[in-house]
Every structure is written in structure tokens, then in C-alpha cells.
Amino acid sequence: MPDLDDVPAGAPAVADPGSVGVVASRDFVHAAPFTFQSGQSLPGFTLRYETYGELNAARDNAILICHALSGDHHCAGRHATDDRKPGWWDNLIGPGKAVDTRRFFVICSNCLGGCVGSTGPSSVNPATGRPYGIAFPFVTIRDMVRAQKLLLDHLGVATLHAAIGGSMGGMQVLQWGIEYPGFVRRLLAMATTSREGAQAIAFNEVGRQAIMQDPAWNQGDYVREAGPRTGLAIARMMAHITYVSDASMDRKFGRRKKGTANGDAYTFDIQFEVESYLRHQGQSFINRFDANSYLYITRALDQFDLAHAYGSVETAFAPVQAETLVVGFTSDWLFPPEQNRAIVHALLRAGKRATYAELATDLGHDSFLLESEDLYALVRSFLEREAAVLVDFSI
């Protein structure tokens, strides 16, 4: 899940020929009723999105980027030349980069249920004039994908060259292949799973409890500025640990003491740098994320189980027409390599074209955001190779 706070600050966009430069977000308003998988519905919704590059005449060069739990639609470039940090996947997306915006029309939207411009629990319910709170419909990965499809139709995209995403974004990518098989030609899923396992659900539940046990949560009824900030910060601190690894944390912080620590070991004030770092992660998260959205989106992750939803994973993948590439990372303990491998096993058993590659990194789950020439070369090969050898694997 993209760690927006850790993206290294780079040079201003104007000086970087590999950057998409200064970009602006736009809003897509779907002004018709939308029924969620739960059966609940909304009179309409908004998705905030960004695009980079140009849609070609055949309208078939679009690539959809799907963000993770805490990510958003701003995945490349900068909103202003003096922005400290670019979008969360700026290292992958741009002119001449692995996802080459000179060639592809790249689209990324904030997911349905999110809190960065798209309709979610913090949006105002027109019926009450107050935020939906927990009256907002339950959202699933499939709902997010169906909303994205409406956006792509609105943008005039005829077919997707590829759908790409890591973590929750990877789940959306798989769902895309199942839900709109004729619409997407390549699926690139990283650090993900076809079934949220018990450990991942357990982590989500601890985060939700931290939020819901905060008195300021108030059954989800709060104004954004006065929400359960303590609970949300703790949820983020805990979740952040699951995105990295023992080795990467120890390399980054070790047992280093905070410079301001007074040397007295017998206090509960911040002593270690890692404590200070996690508190910073929590504090910066509460300024950009809504606690109810966190509840809804983690619930959507928990509900994701293709085998359960379709009878078996093979049945789920039966309609897939796209070629799939799944990338796992050795040190990812949130969605470990075995879960990524299992996706490819099931796709192959279902008679689909699927490739599995694994990168040896010690950066944990967030490895999919890694600056790695190996990863770039793989992604580029997958996206830019001319038409695949067109053979039906299911003979």
C-alpha cells in the first residue's frame, strides 16, 4: 500500500524530462443511480481522477492504474512545480518510463468509498445534508471496479491496454479481468492476493478497533476535522509496520535513539527513532485520510475472496481473456509470494495465459513501489511487446 509519506522528494517537475510534469485532478460525476454489490444504492457518485498522455484515435492505448488502501488518484507528476513530492508511482509512470506516457494514456482514479475527492463516507448525503458516515453503502472491490468502468466509458476508452495495481490495486486488476474480460488485454498485479487471508483481516480489524474505540468516532458521526484522530493514527502506525519488513526497519532505524532523548531510559516518551517515525506516519495520515473511509476500504479488502465469490478461483478466472503478469516480492509478509503464486496457478489451471515473476527484496509489502531497474524492465516488456502469441491456452 503506497506509503505517500515516504516518497522521496525529487527535483521540481519542470527540470525532469521523465516526469509527466504539472498535472491537475478532475472530477467525473456519474449522475445516475449506482447499486452496490450489497444491494444498497446511491443516487450518483463522483470519482476524482488524473490522466497522463493522450488517448489515441483507436482509443485502445489506455492503461488504468489502481491504487492501494491508502493511495489516491495522484500517481504521477506534481500538482505544482514546488510540490515537495510527486505522485506515488512517479518512478514507474512518465515519458520514457516503464509505463510510458508518450505511448499510453494513463488513468488513475480515487476509489469509490475513498476520501480524496471521490464519493465516500465523508461525502455529504443529499438526503440529510450531513456526511454519510456509516450510512454509506458497503463497498466491495467489484463496486470500485464497476465505478472505474463508468469513468473509462465517460473518457471514451474503447479497450484497456492494461490494468496495473499493487496490493488492493492488484485485487482490482484481477476483478477487472473477471468483470470486463473483453475490455482489458493485460493484467499486471503485484503484491496481492485472490483471497484476503486471516492475518491480513486480523491486521485490518486491529486498525478498525483503534478507530471505533476512539470516543471521537461517535458511531461514525463526526465532522472531518474532529474525527477519531487518535484511533486513525494508531491504525496507520500498526498498518505501516505490515507494509515494511524486519530487515528494512532495522536498516533504517536500528536501535538509534532520538536526538532529543535525554538519555533516561525509564520514561515512556519517545526514545527510539522508529517510535518517532511511526508517530509521524500516524500524524501525517490523519491529515489526509478519513477514518470512516479506512473502515470501509479495509472491509472491502476483507471481503475479497474470489474462491468464495465464484465457487472456486478457477471458476472466477474462467471468463478472463487478458494475459496476466503477477509479481511477488520475497519479503512481503502481508501478501506473501505464495499468495501471488496461487493466483498464477489458478489462472493456468483455468487455461489462461499467466506469468509469475518474483523479486528478491527486503523491503516488505511496499516493495512494489521499489525503484528497481529489474522491475521496470519486466513491466516494460509486458506492456510494450507487440501482440502476444495469440493462442487459446484452453484447447
Binding site: 503478469l325 489451471r349 509469475y356 528478491a360 524492465a377 516488456s381 511487446r385
Partner: protein, 201 residues
């Protein structure tokens, strides 16, 4: 054309002759996907390769060959009986940690298993060892012992003995001379440089 590349081409051509068009093929130790790419073009097979190395998987992706990075035995265990029409083990069998397990598992998930290997019983190989008293090195085995993966010096006689002991049926064999081109039917263990087998249960 360099001799090694030429030999590789012969190898590919024979396997290509044996492979039925439009079938499902698993290549164990697929490397950079050369063989599967060739089979996809000439026989329109639906292929999947298995290899351990990330860069070789990238090379497969580049040429449009689907591939799986990981252990071949663990991979095969994920598939039902006779899922693949053919499993290919081309110049891989000598480097396997547990050749028996891999061959038996390949015969479970595949209707046919094709095995190709350099015959260490070939007279030139025997003489080289006899006179040089060193690890075999030639166009195919170019490396010193300390810079290569452990490899079993398997011979035609060894391999056929193994098949007989395990009750594996040899459906087809090709024994090639030292040039890997002309067939060598007489005294293959002594006179053949390369051997190919189609095995079934």
C-alpha cells in the same frame, strides 16, 4: 552459425517434430524461452515455462512466452493429472536435485515427457576424461567445475536403465551422432553424442 547454436537448433527441430500442433506444453528449465517461442511459432502450442531466474523470466515475457519463476516440482504439484499434453525437460535433467521425483511428477501432469540430454557415454567424452583426467569441457559444457551447477554425467545406458527400473515406457527415442545431426542407431551409448526420449507411463 556457431556450433553450439547449431546444435541447439537441431535439438529444437527434433522436439518440434515430436510436438503435436496446438497442444499444451510445459517446459521445465525454460531459460529465456527460446524453445517455447519456437514451438509457439511453428506448432502454435500453448506453452508455459518454469525457471528460477528473474531475468530469464523477463526474457520470456519479452518474447511473448508465459513463464513461472519458481521450483518446478512445487509448480507441477499444483496441477491435476495429465493437465499438459507434453512436458519437456531439455538439457535440464542432469542438473536436477531429485531427478526421480521430477520425472515421475512430470509423467503425472503430462501425457508425454520429452527428455533430451548430452550422452556422457559418447566415446569422445570417455576419451576426454580418460586422457585429460579432468572434468569434461567442450562446446556444450564450457565451464570449470567450480563455476558450474552440480551436474550428473548421465549416459544413455544409465537413462534407459532408470526407465526400465521405474517401469517408464520409452515411446520414442532419437540418438544423434557427435554432430547432433545424423541418427546413430548402432551402439548409441558409445557412438551417440545426444539423446532424446519420449516417455509415458
Amino acid at each position: 552459425m556457431p556450433k553450439l547454436v547449431e546444435k541447439r537448433t537441431v535439438d529444437m527441430q527434433i522436439i518440434g517434430d515430436w510436438v503435436e500442433p496446438r497442444t499444451r506444453v510445459l517446459d521445465l528449465g525454460c531459460g529465456r524461452g527460446t524453445l517455447l517461442g519456437y514451438l509457439a511459432q511453428t506448432k502454435e502450442v500453448a506453452g508455459i515455462g518454469v525457471d528460477l531466474d528473474f531475468h530469464r523470466i523477463t526474457a520470456c515475457v519479452q518474447r511473448g512466452v508465459t513463464a513461472y519463476q519458481g521450483d518446478m516440482l512445487a509448480f507441477m504439484r499444483e496441477f491435476p493429472d495429465r493437465f499438459f499434453d507434453r512436458v519437456i525437460c531439455s538439457r535440464t535433467v542432469q542438473e536436477l536435485d531429485d531427478p526421480t521425483a521430477v520425472i515421475l511428477e512430470a509423467l503425472r501432469v503430462g501425457r508425454t515427457l520429452t527428455v533430451g540430454f548430452v550422452n556422457h557415454g559418447f566415446w569422445k567424452n570417455r576419451l576426454a576424461t580418460l586422457f585429460r583426467g579432468r572434468k569434461l569441457r567442450n562446446q556444450v559444457y564450457t565451464t570449470e567445475w567450480f563455476e558450474s551447477r552440480p551436474a550428473n554425467p548421465v549416459t544413455i545406458a544409465d537413462f534407459e536403465h532408470f526407465c526400465a527400473a521405474k517401469g517408464i515406457r520409452i515411446a520414442r527415442r532419437a540418438h544423434l551422432a557427435g554432430n547432433w545431426r545424423s541418427p546413430r542407431r548402432l551402439c548409441p551409448n558409445l557412438l551417440a553424442g545426444y539423446a532424446l526420449y519420449d516417455l509415458t507411463r
